[in-house]
Symmetry: C2
Subunit: 250 residues, 2 copies
């Protein structure tokens, strides 16, 4: 009887590599849980090692330092968020573009609300980590997350939902920056004009603003529930995009 040759996670890896991958995963999971429970300051190699039944120096076989570990889990969290948004998008019938957009954007806020600590480290200020720390992995994951939204936007664009500003309406200096932006994120296909990129940027900035404002709690001294304000911004934002707003069904 031949052994089953199914593609399992970790296929093609030696036993050693598999167990190594597993402990690295455990490290990241515990680190993320500590981040949630004790805040960014509360993530410490010693505490993680303690919980795993080993000592701190041992972790250096897996991670080059605490900063690198934080970068690793940040990447993980971007992937998590991207998956959540993609799942929300996929949960709506394919043809109903309006509802898909709505659901996706609300899923973004929803994830942020349920993962405040994570969201804060992902979208809050970059604390200066000592030079030499490879940030590439997190950047790559952030790019994947961004692509989730760009896909949504691209669909709106191809459906010609909203009026796209002409090239003349985009100031020259802004045009240069938008071009660089579009090139980097892979939005430079022929049918995506600079005006469209401008609209996208503006919308993204607004979404980012409301959600940060809520998660970072900068209005909570005066406003108990931020959902109505979010929905209001969402509505105004979507009207710019030619998407029909529908109230949130609870």
């Amino acid at each position: 009887m031949a052994k089953p040759q199914i593609e399992r996670p970790g296929a093609g890896l030696s036993r050693r590599e598999r167990v190594r991958e597993a402990t690295l995963l455990e490290i990241k999971e515990i680190a993320r849980r500590h981040l949630v429970e004790y805040g960014p300051q509360g993530v410490s190699l010693r505490a993680i090692a303690r919980e795993m039944g080993m000592t701190a120096p041992g972790l250096y076989r897996y991670v080059s330092g605490i900063d690198a570990l934080l970068v690793l889990i940040t990447a993980q969290m971007y992937d998590d968020l991207a998956d959540t948004v993609a799942a929300a998008d996929a949960s709506v019938p394919e043809h109903d573009t309006d509802q898909r957009i709505l659901t996706s954007l609300r899923a973004f806020r929803g994830w942020a609300l349920e993962h405040r600590a994570e969201f804060s480290t992902m979208f809050g200020p970059r604390n200066q980590l000592d030079p030499g720390t490879d940030i590439g992995e997190a950047l790559e994951a952030a790019r994947r997350f961004g692509a989730t939204f760009f896909t949504l936007f691209d669909r709106l664009l191809s459906e010609e939902r909203f009026e796209v500003p002409s090239e003349e309406e985009v100031p020259a200096d802004l045009a240069r920056e938008l071009r660089a932006f579009a090139d980097t994120v892979g939005l430079s296909t022929p049918h995506v004009s600079l005006g469209a990129v401008m609209v996208l940027s503006s919308c993204w900035v607004r979404l980012y603003g409301v959600v940060c404002m809520e998660i970072f709690q900068h209005l909570n001294f005066a406003m108990a529930d931020m959902e109505p304000l979010f929905e209001s911004e969402l509505r105004s934002l979507l009207s710019r995009l030619g998407v029909e707003y529908r109230p949130f069904e609870r």
Copy 2:
């Protein structure tokens, strides 16, 4: 010859209280400098004490702990920012409301750019400090800062620059929150309608979003200079407020 009885800073305070106030000030200044130079992690009581030629426990006569110190300097920074914006506003002829608004908002961004570390601690995520830390002082300073902007807005409102949404256009749940907000910040004078508060909130969220995006560097992997995007948002934001946009003269 009678001694001059001029109102000096620290008047009415005993010698002891004056020198105490001075060292407290020195502590805060060094703390803030360390924040700028070494980041939020780099602010330590021991380092501050060392620089002052004393030992860390001595600082506990002035500050109840590191968290409290961070709250103190945060308050200081809000005052600093408020002063900067107010000065910008005052630097423009009184009658030229449009230019005063423009200048003030640009001053906000300008201060943020020149004080990234400060801005990040003020407007970034609230890191959870141990319970019992009095956050009141910073909140009070933040309120003073907010008042700077509310004054600008109030002027626009009284000049009837823009169309104010009617009460019916404000959803009920949002209305409740906006009312609470207006009450807390002292905007509940009769001539400020709920629709006006809604417009103000929306504008503030957008300004906050674009500046955070720039300072926290969440687009800098794809966009070198954020000024054009800021100016573009500013323009669209001001058009909503019925304020004439004028390009930035360098």
